[in-house]
């Protein structure tokens, strides 16, 4: 596939920006500045960057608890995102959602979700609405390997295939459902094996290769947009941190962790860009600096933002308060 240089640089920019954002979030959480639970997507940046490059602003996206990267790659305002993580009034959700429930309806982002496996049916409904309204929009549903074992996975993929909905189901297989390694929670070798049960395409691809992620997703998105129904994609990757920040991840094998860290998607892609002369080191450094500046600004914005007024506790429970 001939991918424009601009798009290649965009992949890199997204990946480094997500990496910087997530690293900073972990530091801020450890320092006590971010309350609640944080699930870091460090190591999984290629999936967010590759997948979100395939969709338009009006396309709908259902996310999960480890989705800061996808939010950023879909175009969410990082200032507001960081403020949301802090619980500030200026946050994406006015500080009422936090990391696990962050959303941006203006960008078609139907929310991260604190309930693992709850996103399938919602994204299926979004795809149904696209079909019902005869728009050309599609929906993506992202989820982890662990939550692929929830019952709504089956109900939603069956209905999506039955109704030929414009949706792509994308599993980020990062090796663990909390502490449980894939081989101990999955009966088959791959999540994508299950596609056969619904008569839809299923494929497992290296999720640390941003170009492979992009090309695979693009094909599935095209299929969905043409009215040919859903696909099930699985991108293999590795969760660098524990399930949540503060989880020491003692269940991980040290050697395996070491090996996966060597497969870091960012230097790997940088090497490709340099070797194929699609970027110079100076360009890469510039993108790194840009990412850092964006995240610095986001942290400053969050820190300087006010807390919500306590009256906000009572608003937004119902549309038009009773």
């Amino acid at each position: 596939m001939d991918i424009q240089k601009k798009q290649l640089l965009e992949f890199y920019q997204q990946m480094v920006t997500i990496r910087i954002f997530e690293s900073r979030v972990c530091e801020l959480f450890a320092a006590g500045q971010i309350p609640g639970f944080v699930h870091s997507s460090l190591g999984q940046e290629a999936i967010a960057a590759g997948v979100m490059a395939c969709v338009e602003k009006d396309d709908k996206v259902g996310l999960h608890h480890r989705s800061h990267g996808e939010m950023i790659a879909k175009g969410a305002d990082m200032n507001k995102m960081m403020a949301e993580l802090f619980g500030k009034a200026t946050g994406t959700c006015k500080g009422k959602g936090g990391s696990m429930h962050i959303a941006d309806m203006d960008l078609g982002i139907l929310g991260a979700n604190g309930i693992l496996g709850a996103g399938y049916a919602i994204a299926t409904g979004a795809a149904f609405a696209c079909q019902y309204n005869e728009t050309k929009d599609i929906a993506l549903c992202l989820f982890g390997d662990g939550q692929s074992n929830r019952g709504p996975f089956h109900e939603s993929l069956n209905v999506a295939a039955l109704w030929k909905l414009p949706i792509v189901f994308i599993c980020e297989n990062n090796g663990f459902g909390l502490s449980n390694p894939v081989k101990e929670h999955l009966a088959t070798d791959c999540v994508s094996d299950r596609a056969a049960a619904y008569g839809i395409p299923g494929v497992t691809v290296d999720g640390n290769d941003v170009l492979a992620v992009y090309e695979t997703t693009l094909e599935a998105v095209d299929r969905a947009r043409k009215g040919n129904g859903p696909s099930l994609l699985e991108f293999t990757t590795w969760r660098w941190h524990g399930h949540f920040e503060g989880d020491p991840a003692v269940y991980k094998d040290a050697q395996e962790q070491e090996e996966w860290l060597k497969k870091d998607p960012i230097p790997r892609f940088a090497k490709q860009l340099l070797e194929q002369k699609n970027a110079t080191q100076a360009e890469l450094d510039e993108m790194q600096a840009k990412g850092e500046a964006l995240v610095d600004a986001a942290v400053k914005f969050a820190e300087e933002s006010p807390w919500p007024d306590v009256s906000e506790l009572f608003t937004d429970v119902y549309d038009r308060q009773m």
């Binding site: 429930h101 979700n113 209905v159």
Partner: protein, 323 residues
């Protein structure tokens, strides 16, 4: 005004809104040509076609869950769950998703969906197809709970539920489906949160909804013959609850009996009792009474089931105990 059954009134409410708004559709198990397990959607498939009246697989999580996503994008789904007892199969989709989306997203979402589902005992359907579970839903901030007890209310509340921009549990009673009454034609709306005095009286207030409303009206008739003048108040919707109407009635009668088919413990009668105790204690000249089902599963054998269901006799007995 047309005389029709409660079931026809529910259908008429859906039909009126489906004609008015192309974003309204029905999805559920066997709702299309078959017309629904109890026949409530009969004829709508022929009238509106397969894109508006859609069969789903036996997949409650995706019936309710897809409605959340579709509603968030502006459609107005009516998701049918064949029996309220099955809500356990899709409770996350209601209580963690539909109910919370608006709040979690800082107000930037609307989830205008209706979950239509029948409740209630009396058909010999036993423990898993007969329950009244309204307090499951009233305990979820972000969901409204509607329980019509007459044909006219069945229509008016259905239209209001569909037009509401929040998730609404519309719980119809199986025993009422054949109940007939005069129903206003066209766009008849009964606002959510407005109680209705179904019978005026001065001696005691009965608060009852759904099937128990009808039982309470029958009991009131018999009590009138014995000189006790009962006021029967139908809240019609439990969330939002018209507590002012309840307090006003109790301030007039000084006595309160709450009748519901849910089991007694943690039933909605406890909530109404607490509200009146907190805000209307001075109106009371007798203890509050609750008539409810016992704290048991619903049995199969007809004699056991009839013992389970709150009866007119039990209502009469509870009222008389206050005098």
């Amino acid at each position: 005004m047309t005389q029709m059954s409660y079931m026809e009134a529910i259908r008429d409410g859906m039909r009126v809104e489906m004609k008015r708004d192309s974003g309204v559709y029905i999805a559920g198990e066997d709702v299309a040509q078959f017309g629904g397990c109890f026949g409530v959607t009969a004829g709508l498939y022929d009238e509106f076609g397969p894109d508006r009246v859609m069969n789903t697989p036996i997949s409650e999580a995706v019936i309710v869950g897809h409605a959340v996503g579709a509603a968030a994008l502006g459609l107005r789904p009516i998701a049918e769950i064949m029996f309220v007892d099955f809500m356990g199969c899709c409770m996350d989709e209601l209580h963690n998703q539909a109910a919370k989306m608006k709040y979690m997203f800082g107000g930037k979402a609307k989830v205008p969906m209706v979950v239509r589902t029948p409740c209630g005992a009396g058909l010999g359907a036993a423990a898993q197809h007969s329950q009244c579970l309204e307090s499951w839903f009233t305990h979820i901030a972000g969901v409204k709970t509607v329980m019509p007890g007459t044909a006219a209310d069945a229509k008016g509340l259905m239209i209001a539920a569909i037009r509401d921009d929040n998730p609404v549990m519309y719980i119809e009673h199986k025993q009422l489906l054949g109940l007939t009454g005069d129903v206003p034609d066209g766009e008849y709306v009964v606002p959510l949160g407005k109680a209705d005095i179904k019978r005026e009286g001065s001696d005691v207030t009965i608060v009852a909804w759904s099937w128990m409303l009808q039982k309470s009206l029958a009991a009131a008739e018999k009590l009138a013959a014995e000189g006790i003048n009962v006021e029967v108040l139908d809240p019609r919707t439990l969330v939002p609850l018209d507590k002012d109407a309840i307090l006003k009635s109790v301030s007039k009668t000084g006595k309160l009996v709450i009748v519901h088919e849910e089991i007694k413990t943690s039933g909605f009668g406890g909530e109404i009792s607490a509200i009146v105790a907190e805000e209307g204690f001075d109106y009371l000249d007798a203890p509050i009474k609750r008539v409810a089902a016992p704290d048991t599963p619903i049995p199969f054998s007809p004699i056991l089931e009839q013992t389970f269901i709150p009866s007119e006799e039990k209502i009469i007995e509870a009222v008389k105990a206050l005098f």
